[in-house]
Amino acid sequence: MVRATSLTTLNGNKKRNYRSSSSFKVATLFAVLLAFAVIALSISIYLFYQQNEAELSQTFVLLSAISIFALLIMGVIGYLISVFVVTRINRIADTAQDIIATGDLTKRVEIDSRWDDLSFLGDVLNEMLEKIETLMAGVQHITDTVAHDLRTPLARLRNKLEKNTQNNGLVGREEYEQQASLVKDVDSLLKTFNALLSLSSLESGRQGSKFEIFDVGKVVHDAVDLYMPLAEEKNQTLTVDSKAISYSGDRDLFFQVIANLLDNAIKFTQHEGAIKITLKNSSNAKEIIIQDNGPGIPRSSVAKAFDRFYRDQEQQHIEGSGLGLSLVNAVLKLHKATITLEDNQPGLKVVVSL
């Protein structure tokens, strides 16, 4: 690995002496050139005031030429150095900005030279990124392992509970109800773990080679069909303005996205509320817009809404794992689509741009 070798060489000379640094050498060169120019200039000025005709004509011209030449070289070198420095600093800044924007810790500062201090800085920054990446992967791995290893015993527990419920046909109704509700609790735990695992498999890009061309309009229609009774139970109106949008992606995952968004809209919007889904298919924008007239999301919470396990303080009474929107976001990222949460005045407007 290239990165690994650069690390080992770096570790050798971690604390660099300022004398060995290239900037120090360039600065010394500058100082020498400057000294040359100053000495040459002062001699020529001294000679000018001596008014010695014969000496003036030769030595004066020579010294002036030397000083002008030295200044010229300084100017050219200075220009080249500033270009060199600025491009490298910009490169570091660009990489940092990229990582902040995408959260992709695999990005590295591009390094094309070995001798200068900025490359050294880049190397050190890359080493730090490497370290951060490893640490993040470690955290992710622990979460995955916990979720994965807890799933099997949980499933076993569930099966034993279920068996108990079926075997004890003679026990009282109340006990049966209690056991059945225990099974339900374990089921919801399992569901959360499953959601966590599929979330991390989505984020690591392990999932998703099942891309195919499908009609987004059909998927939206099917999701509405599935969720319509849920909305009707709350006397909400659920309307669709559908259009055919041909799209390449994972159909099941996309159904999950629409289902989660609809589920949220129905869950958080009050009785007799209105939910509207609009599909837009124009040359410059393919969008799915889901609007409701519920309580919406406070501006301060919009950024946090996609975080794992985030749940609005005021909505704690509503059932949910806090993973729904994280899943939506992960699936859309996989499809290189974006999602924004806007104020519907009143309510929430979710815009998915394909």
Binding site: K184, N194, P229, D252, K267
Partner: protein, 229 residues
């Protein structure tokens, strides 16, 4: 005639293998087991089974290769694939290789049982084509797409019709919510709320209107069933 179902389970996780085989034996099925791919392939090609349960990852010959080999040799025994993680790719690969159904480990025993019964039923039924499904005074005509409950016509929406059709086709068996999502709606996903329950309760309202007893029964923690009486 009572036919005892013969099942072969190929699974390298000893604990799961015992669990599945004990559970199924308790119900009255005959279960053979194999702990690796080589034994599994040998048993599945030489024995007569009604349903095969095959783990995707196996020591020796892997699950998909066994399935491909069996199918290549013209063996049409229904196959249920087990897989460790619910990666969609895995499911697609498994079904493409010739598997009939797919279950993600760990699974609830009731889910396994429901799927085994559905597979077995599908296998036995494929010979005769039904045009009318009936149970407890409810008739569903697949040609005219009309449903009658105790003689009176019931008007169902397209989804409700498909839901009832699926339940009737599997009458006498437990049908899980996941199965309904996969076969009635044709999507593989985990709903956050039990949206299926709402559909069932609506269907019940329509279908049980002229009847005293409930056609579709809820099996707690498992799913739904239409009794075969």
């Amino acid at each position: 005639m009572v036919v005892i179902m013969r099942i072969l389970c190929i699974e390298d996780d000893q604990e799961l293998l015992e669990y599945v085989s004990n559970g199924l034996t308790e119900i009255g099925y005959v279960v053979d087991t194999a702990a690796d791919g080589n034994d599994g392939l040998f048993l599945s090609t030489t024995g007569q089974y009604d349903v095969l349960l095959i783990d995707r990852m196996l020591p020796g010959i892997d699950g998909l290769t066994i399935i491909k080999t069996l199918r290549g040799a013209g063996n049409i025994t229904p196959i249920l694939i087990f897989s460790a993680l619910g990666e969609v790719d895995d499911r697609v690969k498994g079904l493409r290789a010739g598997g009939d159904d797919y279950l993600v480990k760990p699974f609830a025993f009731s889910e396994l049982l429901a799927r085994i019964e559905a597979l077995d039923r599908r296998n036995r039924k494929s010979a005769d084509i039904e045009t009318c499904l009936t149970a407890q005074g409810v008739e569903l005509d697949l040609l005219t797409r009309k449903v009658k409950s105790n003689g009176a016509e019931v008007s169902l929406q397209a989804t409700e019709f498909r839901l009832l059709e699926y339940l009737l086709r599997h009458k006498g068996q437990i049908v899980t919510r996941t199965m309904l999502l996969e076969y009635v709606w044709d999507y593989h996903f985990d709903p956050q709320t039990n949206v299926i329950d709402v559909h069932i309760s609506r269907l019940r309202q329509k279908i049980d209107k002229n009847s005293d007893n409930q056609l579709i029964k809820t099996m707690r923690g498992a799913g739904y069933i239409i009794d075969d009486t």
